[in-house]
Each structure stands twice: as C-alpha cells, then as structure tokens.
Amino acid sequence: MTDDKDVLRDVWFGRIPTCFTLYQDEITEREAEPYYLLLPRISYLTLVTDKVKKHFQKVMRQEEVSEIWFEYEGTPLKWHYPIGLLFDLHASNTALPWSITVHFKNFPEKDLLHCHSKDVIEAHFMACIKEADALKHKSQVINEMQKKDHKQLWMGLQNDKFEQFWAINRKLMEYPPEDNGFRYIPFRIYQATTERPFIQKLFRPIASGGQLHTLGDLLKDVCPSAIIPEDGEQKTQVMIHGIEPMLETPIQWLSEHMSYPDNFLHISIIPRPTD
C-alpha cells in the first residue's frame, strides 16, 4: 500500500528543531554562541552531535573538555534513547526549538551510560535490533542474516539512508504466511514520573481467536492507568513519534510501520496539556 510506505518515510525523516546552549559554568575563553540543529527523531544524540561538540570545543581549552553530555531542564538526557522518544517524553508540549544544555564536565555517572565512541552506539543499536527479533521471530531472521546485512542496518541509520536501511529491515518486518503477525511485539512504554525507566512485557499481536490486538488492548494489559480516565477526564496522552495514534490501531500494524530503526515501538505516556 502506497500510504503505508509513506508512513515509513514520515517516521524516518521526522526532525526536531533544537537549540544547543553551553552550560553556564563551563569555562570558556570566549563567549559561546548557541548552536541550532535539526535533530533526526529516529537517531541518537551522540550520533548526530559531532558539529555541536566541535562548535563548543572551539571556545574551550582542551583540559576543560571531557565526555560530552546533554541535559534538558535539569534532567540528564539518555543518549541511548532515540531522540524522538526523549523529546516526546520530556518536551513535546513545549515551544520549539527544543532547548538542550551541553556539558563537558561532571558526567552524571549514576544517570547516564558512557559513550566513548561510535562503536558503543552501534553495539547498543544492534543489541536492540537483536532483542526485537528474539521477540518477533525467536531470533531466526536476524541470525540468518550475514554480518554485512547487520552492518547495512547500522550504516543506513548512521548515514540517514532510508532505502539502504529498509532493504534489510523489511526482512525483519516479515512473518510466515500461516501466521498473522509476529510472535510477540517489541515495545517499551515510558513515563517520566516513574522510577522504573520503562515497561516491557510479552504481548502477542493476535488474540487466540485470531483477532488483531489493538494499541488500546496493549495499554489495558500492561499500563491500564494510561487509558483509564480519572474522574471521566483523560489526564494523559499516548504518544509515538509525536502523534497520538488511535487506540483502535492494530498493534501489529504499529509495530511494522511506526517502530524506530531499532525495531522497537517506543511509546510515551505524558500529561495531557490543560489548555
């Protein structure tokens, strides 16, 4: 279906206008100008901010620079979460551009994973893809692929090459003709208010009677507070890639069309704006 392929493109090419500002306590030799950048929703902060790093390092002394990290309104941003997820979870109902603060000192060891090189990002990305396939296909599809296919998934993401990525990823989105979907759906549900970083459980896309489970079915099963209105009022929004999909949407369809490149559906439950 042409429409469905358009969804894949819209997801891939989603961007968030962002303004990076250097933390005021960082020691600079000259004043640091903010840096503006359109961030890809589907990528990772440390993968797409080389220019940001270079820009601020120009006004700093070498000895003042250690591992870069990002923060939004006091919250360290987890680089291993896709950018779109971070934005939806923390800033979706605020004015654009997204204002992110850049740090080069006092790395928050208790909050953030280290990211010393691109290899770390690749390893994390591939681990997510493998876990997703363990859920969808008992790892059969990912294991049948050659190393060069795995590499192509990563290179596609790194170089923002939609066709290159999907040439391989489409195989991860297939299922045996006798089934009507994946074995289990790879998903994670995030709420900024909980200590638990996310909810992840085994969930089948097809009910025993053969009906397609919906997004609403998933939420009812693993996170009922997200859709049960308090006093008749819906206090929360369910957001994926910056939109609120209808709860009647089949979860199998969402998994095939609105997963991130890591093959997971990253779903944010956020407070509904009160205006």
């Binding site: 987890k78 291993h80 060891e109 208790k110 909050d111 953030l112 994973l113 280290h114 390893a123 994390h124 681990a127 493998k130 876990e131 363990a134 859920l135 008992k138 790892s139 059969q140 990912i142 294991n143 790879p186 909980t194 200590e195 638990r196 970083p197 996310f198 909810i199 992840q200 459980k201 085994l202």
Partner: protein, 222 residues
C-alpha cells in the same frame, strides 16, 4: 544471539521466581547475603547481593605503579574480620576496598536470567569496565575470553534506571542446555539459577559457596 531450537532450555518467569526463592532460602541458611527485592509498581523483582572486596596490593618499593595495566597477581579476600592497621603494614602496601553490587533479573525477551553488576570505591567513584576486568582472576580471563557469553557492556538497569554492567544474555540458554544435557525430567529438578550463576558469576568476581550444590531439587515447588 540465538533463541531457536527445542533443545535450548528456557526459563519461564514463574519458575525463575521459584528458583530465586529457593536460592534466597539457602543463602539465608548459610549467611551468603542474597535477598529478593520486589518492585513496588509491577510486582516483579530481582535477586540482590552487595559485598565488599578488600585487595592488598603489595608494591615493591622500587616499582611505582603508573596505571591500571598491572599484571601482578593480587590477593582477594572477603572481609570477615574487621580491617585493622596491621593489614596495611609496611611501606608500599596499600589496601583497596571495592563495593560490589550484583543483581539477577529476568529477561522476558530471551527467557533467561541476566546478571547485572556495578562496583565503586568507598569514596563513591564507580569502577570503569577496564578496572573491573582487571580484578577478575587471570585464569577466568583467559578461559572465558573465547566464550560468547562473556560480553560485558554497560546498560540501563530495567527496574532502577541506573547504569550497570551486564553480562550479555544472548547465549545463556545454549550453554545451560549443554551443561544440563539429559532429559527434560532431569532439567526440571535442577535449580537453574544456581547452575547458571555458578558458571557466569566467577567471570565478574562473584563466587557461590559449594553448599548451594546440595540444594535439594524442587524445594518448595509444587
């Protein structure tokens, strides 16, 4: 990573919890320090153990240690008696205490247990992965470097949301099957957690006293 094959032995979550319960009971009997922690919101949980390791580093007076790439065999000791000044006797001998925290969680994606751990010095500074590797006994490093199940990466703890080191769960079911072998019936009577932890634990400095092997099969189950 593979999850395929009927021969592979997978652990259902209910069974994981039961084995952990039996494990904690035995730990309490021998004072091994393991406890089960339940999360308040969803009722899932994990095994947890914290212990302190003291390392006596004997540095010959004419050799200055420049970095952490030392190959000097070191002595590991569990702190059983209180530390006293006599342990720091002599010039060039330092004592280093590291706090290790181990958690055993269940991975529903791979249907196996997963070992999470972190370590820090007494001043709170966390150890880097290199520093942790440096403290694993040399013989384990050699033997397990080839093993596919020894990959250690830093990951987010799925319940606490904090950075931990993780022993990759990918090939767990494969090697557990290889060790367990035999019939389904035999497998069901072995405490998977004890078997698994006694194999992977030593890689990261975690040892199980031999008395765990005496744990009667299916204690408390059925």
């Amino acid at each position: 990573c593979s999850m395929a094959g009927e021969e592979d032995f997978f652990l259902e979550e209910k069974r994981f919890k039961q084995y952990c319960e039996d494990f904690v009971k035995h730990s309490q009997q021998i004072g091994d320090g393991w406890e089960w922690r339940t999360s308040k919101d969803l009722g899932d949980g994990y095994l947890s153990k914290t212990h302190f390791q003291v390392r006596n580093r004997h540095i010959p007076p004419d050799l200055e240690e420049k970095n952490n790439d030392n190959t000097e065999p070191t002595l590991f000791a569990h702190v059983e008696e209180p530390l006293d000044d006599s342990q720091a006797a002599g010039a060039g001998s330092t004592e280093e205490v590291v706090r290790y925290e181990y958690h055993v969680l269940y991975s529903s994606s791979y249907q196996v247990p997963v070992l999470y751990f972190r370590a820090c010095f007494l001043d709170g500074r966390p150890l880097t992965l290199d520093e942790i590797w440096g403290r694993v006994h040399a013989s384990y490093q050699a033997r397990l470097q080839e093993g596919p199940w020894d990959t250690i990466t830093q990951q987010e703890h799925p319940i606490l949301g904090q950075p931990f080191f993780v022993l990759h769960p990918c090939r767990t079911s494969e090697f557990i099957s290889a060790v367990l072998g035999g019939s389904q019936k035999h497998r069901r009577h072995t405490n998977y957690i004890i078997l698994w932890l006694s194999t992977v634990g030593p890689v990261v400095g975690l040892n199980l006293p031999l008395s765990y092997a005496k744990l009667a099969p299916e204690q408390g189950t059925n």
